[in-house]
Subunit: 691 residues, 2 copies
């Protein structure tokens, strides 16, 4: 730019680190949610090897105690993040720019900028974060009051060596790090003045000699055109110091190289003849919308999708769904507990497949499968983790394929499969298998201890015995599901963890008419209702008994309820110790459904938490019975648990040898004799189930 | 075999065509089911280029009018197909062989064998068909009474040319095709005698000259040892003709080559000295269990799995599951109608994925998807047809991926995906899109007509309007499902097919206390309850409204009920015209659940068939309201249907232009004015749903 030319400024170029968008998304989801009030943020720019007049923001933008990185200067911003693309588009841009401009002017009129000159570097962002598609729409504004043009008194040029030396010396001696300051270069009186010091002294001395005064600013432009920030600096100075009007003013745009040399700094000199009055706010106009890359006054869009690790993106997307639930409807929903809960699934058949998919949907991350079967040809149509290809191979183990499929759905899932037969009461272990069984038992024991929740999803009554016992021994949450042809049972086993509240039996009292309650630790297990030890029911099954004979809807519904019941439990402060309420009506035997009564049941944040759900597809109906622990239960009674604690695997082998052992141990053999006719609990409807 | 040597027989070798096992499986599943009574079957063997003494069976074995293939002779068998491997193993083999042997002896004692000599060729199979794993266990028996050994009078040898010529001449002249007969070779009196003719004449002439008599049989053995069947032939002859005892007997084992030459036929001559008396049944012993390939008296097992086309095997396996359901519990279940019903799914999101998997589980074969979306990163955890890999690609269309996945699960599925936006009321179609929309409308029209059932599984109310209209116009079964955060609606639209019964309104009467009924053609559609035309609800949705905000269990349960409701309908003789019963209780507004009342509802073979199922996960409860058609319905009323029939797409474009058009057409604008306060049906709970 030569003498007489109009002084033009290099526009600021926004540069947004992807980390900013991540942080914005996080804040939007976790804090702001539907609130779209503007948020204060910070940016920074540098005059060391500066290029392209950049103003940068990253994830630190939201820090209240933001500090600009080394060699950088702070800028003050605001983000207006809208809730919809329509709001983003229809937002009145002129009004917004004016509002932001007026904030700057407010700084002119108060002492704010004098106290903190970095407030001259202002920006704002109008944005819309499409968190679903990971597209971010944004438009930067760098507000500046519209002022008359200035013409250079001299061509733009380098700062003389003399001045440069003196300036450097003063800067080295001063601790000042402001992006805007004044250099008094009069021989022998060289010093750095803060803006405040300068304004104060100019007020005192209206006829101040400006020959040796240099207005300095950190220049992030590498061109002959100084940074846009100089324009704001000029406006501020002329507003504050009316005495500058009509005098030649010298501005130094400071630029450093790697060796902190100032040689590339430039000097501009001009005289402002028209008075600048920013006090008449009504008359003010502001400019400063950033142009897009095509030099058009339009917003920009960045898709983070391609730049992000797909797995991370996926995690974000999945979390978005879950967080939206929390945000919109369930502010108390604890998603962390879900992400941390480790689930062990006994059975990777129809139920196991559906349960594990549901767990992924809820954001569970740890899913372990135990299964002994291979993927059969008829499996894929009902077992949602397997394909025809798996089945045709003929030797694909379900446990392995299930775990692999978890990762195909969400690579972030921690899932393993264990091919293992679950030893069962009455299924004698031959001598040759004893060693392997011993190993399996120890493995099983370890697995149970490593997990928080056990799902019992196998296809026979007796295969549920050992998991039930282990769940009770180690105080795990146990969710049980069994299928009939068109009926299902979903049940949570009574809690056995030792907690303070378990000593407190107060819950076990009548609450309301027709509504009873059983404390969580007094709820029964799958075997509590039954007074026969499970025998070898797998032998001699005809074809129809070997296969899944259920209406396809049954397993899906049961799996859904099983997972929803678990999530409800996990959200309850007492977890599995949460009491179960149930309706009692005199008109029918056992528990029955009654909307009027259920309406009174105390709810967790997700609703009621029943002990069990028994449903019938033939009537599209559920009933929610609750039953108490049975003191002679062959799986969860203290007698059985202590026997296991005492003798471990040796006890188990006795049981595998003969189920009668359990009946004798718990004394239900006698009980059976006595009450033979009364207790004829027929659970055969629940016996056929998942293969 | 030389003179004096013991006459030994070549054991029969069973050869079972895979087609036999397929047929057996089919019969087991479709006819016999748990019935394990023995079945008569037929086999055959040949003496033309015969090798290895084979006796073959194939799928024709079960034909009542069985005919042996050309050049083959018939054999008579029985299959004892057991229900379990245990029954197969523990079956008393000696008793079975004896029972089968006695059947043979019964033939000796009556005229049965004389009337049909092929009855000498007897066999039976003890089997177990493991239809689940496609393994077939079997053991053939060829019963023969245990008799004393015979020593050859002469070495085994060829038949003399003279005899051979004469025999051939007689055979050519005779039409006899028996596998056992007698050749009278006396010079000038050459003739073929049936067994009956021979026995009759030998009874008349006790001192018959046997020098020129040759006992002939079709010999399927290529060895010097004649076929096992000769042993039975000898036993029969000596039983029938006591005069043969102590006389040298000549047997010709007939064997043909390709040119029907008899040169490889052999002659055995021996004299039976001990009397054979088979009348003392108690004393009889029988032999004839086939040895396995290792020459051990053990059954064989064949796995059809490897030899069958995996796709066919899969079909069989899937059908097995379904047939078992029919066989064991629902003999009236019509699986054909399910396999033939063509389903069109609007939406391949959470609901569409779950519904289509359920359809596969029930044995549906024709599944078509309409969807306009791409697989997003958050989709796979809730949308059960997609993987992380699909999502990461970024441009995979759901409709295409869903159809492809159907085939990965069951290659026999006929599935296509159509990427198409469903035009919606109030969503103006710009001029530039008009042509494409016109195409889409025609395509949609075709698709609806080509299918039997429509599932409405989209994520907005307005996207259901056009499918609802088209379903009503073409008289299709329409199943609608919509999701709330923890609630769901599943509904069948009222039938619009013109049937005889639709003229009959008798159903629409009160049946029982608190139980009302609406005829199938008078049931409402999704829009009948609502008196606002759907507008553009998709615009300006905040983030939470753009995403699926539902508890994961909701979609699974709704999808399950949707498919089960369809299957129940398809099994009802009136199909979608089946009436819906609903409970009315005075105590609460609208329909409510009441077990006592539901118990009285008339059931289809799968249970009750409600109009709609509304469920709440928070209470694990369903209610089953039924509502009538609304005469001013904006989607299914006659006014709307006839307008479409009259003006077709032109009418639709009017509706897309402004939803108000529908309100004016049906007159609900007035209605709304009038009843504004009364009718304030808030379905907002159902509005957010599947994405």
């Amino acid at each position: 730019m030569s003498s007489g030319e109009i002084l033009q400024f290099a526009p600021l170029q926004s540069f947004v680190s992807p980390t900013f968008w991540h942080k914005l998304s996080e804040i939007k989801l976790d804090l702001d949610r539907l609130n779209d009030k503007p948020r204060s943020i910070f940016g920074y720019y540098t005059n060391r090897n500066a290029k392209s007049c950049l103003l940068e923001i990253d994830y630190t933008a939201f820090n209240g105690d933001f500090k600009a990185p080394k060699f950088c200067h702070k800028a003050h911003g605001t983000v207006y993040n809208k809730n919809t693309i329509e709001e983003f588009k229809t937002c009145d841009k002129n009004t917004l720019m004016r509002e932001e401009g007026l904030k700057l002017i407010e700084g002119f009129q108060t002492d704010a900028i004098l106290d903190d000159p970095s407030l001259l570097a202002r920006f704002f962002i109008l944005s819309f974060a499409d968190l679903k598609s990971h597209n971010y729409y944004y438009w930067f504004g760098f507000p500046c009051p519209l002022t008359s043009t200035l013409n250079l008194d001299k061509p733009v040029g380098n700062v003389s060596n003399a001045i440069k030396e003196k300036l450097k010396k003063c800067l080295d001696e001063s601790s000042l790090l402001d992006n805007f300051f004044v250099f008094q270069a009069a021989e022998g009186q060289e010093k750095i003045l803060t803006l405040k010091e300068f304004v104060v002294s100019s007020e005192k001395d209206a006829s101040m000699d400006l020959d040796n005064v240099y207005f300095c600013f950190a220049n992030n432009s590498e061109h002959q055109h100084p940074t846009w920030l100089m324009r704001i600096f000029i406006a501020f100075l002329l507003h504050k110091c009316k005495t500058l009007l009509g005098k030649p003013l010298k501005f130094i745009g400071l630029r450093y190289d790697n060796h902190m040399d100032l040689s590339s700094s430039l000097l501009w000199q001009f005289t402002q003849k028209e008075s600048c009055n920013f006090d008449d706010v009504e008359q003010l106009k502001f400019v400063g919308w950033e142009l897009n890359k095509n030099q058009k006054p339009q917003p920009r869009m960045v898709s983070m999708r391609d730049s992000m690790d797909p797995q991370l993106l996926t995690e974000n997307s999945i979390n978005l769904n879950l967080k939206l639930m929390k945000w919109r409807l369930l502010p108390d929903l604890n998603l962390d507990v879900i992400a941390k809960t480790k689930c062990l699934l006994f059975g990777a058949g129809t139920l196991g497949c559906a349960v594990s998919r549901m767990l992924l949907g809820w954001g569970f991350k740890h899913i372990t499968f135990i299964d002994n079967g291979k993927v059969g040809l008829a499996n894929p149509v009902r077992q949602y983790l397997y394909t025809f290809e798996d089945a045709v191979k003929g030797d694909v183990m379900k446990a392995d394929a299930a775990a692999a499929c978890m990762k195909k759905i969400n690579p972030g899932t921690i899932s393993t499969g264990h091919v293992m037969q679950i030893p069962m009461p009455g299924h004698t272990v031959g001598e040759s298998l004893k060693e392997q069984t011993e190993k399996d038992l120890n493995k099983l024991n370890d697995l149970v201890q490593e997990h928080d929740v056990m799902f019992l999803l196998t296809d026979s009554r007796e295969s549920r015995w050992l998991p039930t016992l282990l769940g009770a021994v180690y105080g795990k949450i146990v969710i049980n599901s069994a299928l009939g042809f068109d009926s299902y049972l979903v049940q949570r086993h009574g809690g056995t963890r030792t907690t303070e509240s378990s000593a407190n039996d107060d819950n076990n009292t009548q609450i309301l008419d027709n509504l009873k309650c059983i404390a969580g630790h007094q709820l029964g297990c799958y075997f509590c209702n039954d007074v026969t030890a499970p025998g070898n029911s797998l032998k001699d099954r005809t074809l129809d008994q070997q296969c899944t004979v259920t209406r396809p809807g049954v397993s899906n519904i049961a799996a859904s309820y099983a997972v929803e019941l678990l999530v409800s439990l996990l959200q309850h402060p007492l977890r599995e110790m949460a009491p179960a309420y149930y309706a009692t009506t005199p008109s029918s035997s056992g528990a029955t459904s009654s909307q009027q009564t259920y309406n009174k049941i105390p709810e967790g944040i997700l609703g009621i938490i029943p002990h069990s759900i028994r449903g019938m597809l033939s009537s599209f109906e559920n009933i929610l019975p609750a039953t108490q622990k049975f003191v002679q239960c062959i799986a969860c009674s203290e007698k059985v648990l202590s026997e296991y604690r005492l003798h471990g695997n040796a006890f188990l082998f006795n049981v595998f040898e003969s189920a009668k052992f359990l009946e004798d141990l718990t004394g239900i053999s006698d009980y059976k004799e006595l009450q033979n006719e009364i207790i004829d609990f027929n659970d055969s409807d629940m016996e056929l189930s998942d293969e």
